[in-house]
């Protein structure tokens, strides 16, 4: 069995297991928030994975996630409310609209060679500014009145609202990550990596850089918008201020970089960890301290795990597995906390503490060096980003 079939099998299993979660929750009469917790996590996983397809793979630093997200929110919002489209029809359309917008942007910025590096990052940022002010100005889109999504009908087969949200976000997240994986393991992926490392040389070796960058940008925009649509449904009332702010673009960068941008699993891990920690800190109810901790954690993790948490887990997979599942088991069996989510987050924290041990020190502690499988990029090299100046 090849590595690919193994991974795809893994996807299938994960899909089935997660797909059954709503039923399990129902049977066990577990807190419905478990579903909310998971679908919010799926939201961030999808967002950061889609961002990573462009920036992580090709090295083109995008500040523009908010733009794709916003296009998704408003397209679904307008189609589903003002034109009464079925939500499940409006959603993919929103994705396509964003994808088209992405390609349009790419057509301009990738044609002009000088628009790489910082300039690309700044252009994507500027684009989301423009979109915001257009939305605010045109009453067809928002006109400063906001759009109400509450009461948007959802098809029966998705179940009640929370379950529907869960199922939709699950499908989108799975699609995003699957796409990220398939690209990662394809000629497209390798082409993008070579662009990230040295675009000039890549072209010289025959990589169709323009087409590949367009593909990456389009894919990023498409998935970014899909999740945007679902998000609109969850908050029920969307306004320009809530949609086009720096929160989404900054958090996706944060999650992907912490998880590791050089592997398709990186953003998934990053999003899962960051979201879990922030949710629990918030639940702990310490407003300001909470913010300070998040800020500090961010800095520490950026400095402490340079190659990204995922690759470090790969490098210490035995220890990670033992510690995480050990802690998880202990916490649940002895029922030390009030909910599974708490167990999960504590297990996470303990594992993180282990992961944060600097590699040389770790190697001194565990004499036997555990190396990652060859399919991975070698750890410990900082990612050269296109913004790193030329």
């Amino acid at each position: 069995m090849t590595a690919r079939t193994k991974t795809l099998l893994g996807f299938a299993i994960v899909a089935v297991v997660l797909g059954l979660v709503p039923n399990v929750v129902e049977v066990l009469d577990a807190p419905g928030f478990y579903l909310t917790f998971l679908f919010t996590m799926f939201f961030w996983i999808s967002q950061s994975s889609s961002w990573n397809i462009l920036t992580g793979y090709s090295g083109y630093f995008s500040f523009g996630q908010g733009a794709w997200f916003g296009i998704g929110v408003y397209t679904t919002g307008i189609l589903a409310t003002k034109h009464g489209w079925p939500f499940l029809v409006a959603l993919p359309v929103a994705g396509l609209v964003a994808g088209a917008a992405g390609l349009l942007l790419g057509l301009v910025v990738f044609r002009l060679r000088r628009l790489s590096g910082e300039i690309f990052a700044l252009t994507t940022l500027a684009v989301s500014f423009v979109l915001a002010s257009v939305a605010r100005l045109t009453s067809l889109i928002d006109g400063g009145r906001g759009i109400f999504m509450t009461g948007t009908p959802l098809p029966e087969f998705l179940g009640d609202f929370r379950t529907s949200m869960y199922r939709m976000t699950l499908v989108i997240a799975l699609l995003t990550v699957l796409t990220a994986y398939l690209i990662f393991e394809s000629r497209l992926g390798w082409g993008l990596f070579s662009i990230r490392d040295d675009e000039e040389v890549a072209r010289g070796l025959g990589v169709p850089t323009f087409r590949y960058k367009m593909t990456a940008l389009g894919t990023n925009a498409f998935f970014g918008a899909l999740m945007g649509g679902v998000w609109a449904l969850q908050i029920g009332f969307v306004t320009v201020e809530d949609v086009f702010n720096i929160r989404v673009p900054l958090l996706v960068i944060l999650m992907a970089v912490l998880g590791g941008m050089r592997h398709w699993m990186g953003p998934v891990v990053g999003a899962a960890i960051i979201y879990t920690l922030t949710d629990r800190l918030n639940s702990a109810g310490l407003a300001d301290v909470n913010q300070v901790i998040i800020g500090a954690l961010l800095i520490v993790m950026v400095l402490g795990v340079r190659e990204g948490i995922y690759l470090r887990i790969r490098a210490r997979w035995i220890a990670s597995g033992v510690i995480f599942f050990g802690a998880m088991a202990a916490l649940t069996v002895f029922d030390l906390t009030s909910s599974l989510i708490w167990d999960f987050s504590y297990a996470l924290l303990i594992t993180m503490a282990m992961l944060l041990i600097p590699t040389p020190l770790w190697e001194r502690l565990t004499r036997s060096r555990i190396t990652a499988p060859p399919s991975d990029r070698p750890p410990e090299q900082p990612v050269p980003s296109k913004t790193a100046g030329t």
Binding site: R187, G191, S194, D197, E200, A202, G206
Partner: protein, 243 residues
């Protein structure tokens, strides 16, 4: 017959004429030495032929295509590859991955699996198997130069442009490199070598073209060319060859 025919190629950088109507040609299976004092336009020509720069004027007919009108990726597909004087490997990839990527694209598209096998083949050919799976930042300059070669060869070129492969190497490494170039040539690949070390060029090349201030001042049999008074003048008058 001619593999590549260059006619009156010109390139200006601001006021400076880097190339001024250069015309020359390369035959199949030929090793062409491209020499000349610093700033005579050798590297510029390579950069034009590999599509890195856009030419102001002229033609470089390769098969039925004009290289000067093609983007780099098309040039690679056409079967022309180059190496860089200062190696530019993909530095987040392993040696093997570097080579497989160029095989995946290059002259024809290939699957990842095929690329992995081809990579090992070229790594073997360039004697890099030992470091195949180590990150490139662990390689010596010598190895990096060979990686450049392996990567270029993996694109399955019919014409290979070598930009100062020997610069910065010690004598034994130079000899190994010369062997390597010969073996590449034995595979039926035509070569253009830009080199400062005249003794090497003369010993390797079938033919030599001498550039000075963007013009071809001599071309033909190596030994004869190097005795041509114009060439000697150019070298003595211009900056000395750092041999």
């Amino acid at each position: 017959m001619n593999l590549l025919t260059c006619t009156s190629i010109s390139k200006r950088f601001g006021g400076i004429r880097a190339l001024d109507g250069v015309s020359t040609s390369i035959e199949e299976h030929e090793i062409l030495g491209l020499v000349g004092p610093n700033g005579s336009g050798k590297s510029t020509l390579i950069n034009l032929l590999s599509g890195l720069y856009a030419a102001d004027d002229g033609q470089a007919v390769f098969g039925d295509r004009d290289l000067l009108r093609l983007p780099p990726e098309k040039i690679a597909a056409a079967g022309v590859a180059r190496t860089f004087q200062i190696p530019r490997p993909f530095d987040t990839m392993t040696v093997r991955e570097n080579v497989s990527v160029s095989y995946m694209f290059g002259h024809r598209r290939h699957s990842l699996e095929a690329a992995r096998d081809a990579a090992s083949e070229w790594l073997a050919f360039t004697g890099l198997e030992a470091v195949a799976d180590s990150p490139v930042d662990q390689l010596t300059l010598h190895q990096l130069k060979f990686l450049e070669l392996a990567r270029a060869l993996a694109t399955e070129p019919t014409l290979l442009l070598l930009d100062e492969v020997l610069a910065g190497l010690n004598p034994t490494e130079i000899d190994q490199s010369i062997e390597m170039i010969k073996r590449i040539h034995e595979r039926g690949i035509a070569l253009v070598i830009v080199e400062h070390l005249l003794r090497v060029v003369t010993s390797l090349s079938h033919r030599i073209v001498v550039l000075d201030q963007g013009r071809v001042i001599a071309s033909g049999d190596p030994t004869e060319v190097m005795e041509d008074p114009a060439v000697v003048a150019a070298y003595l008058g211009g900056s000395r060859p750092n041999a």
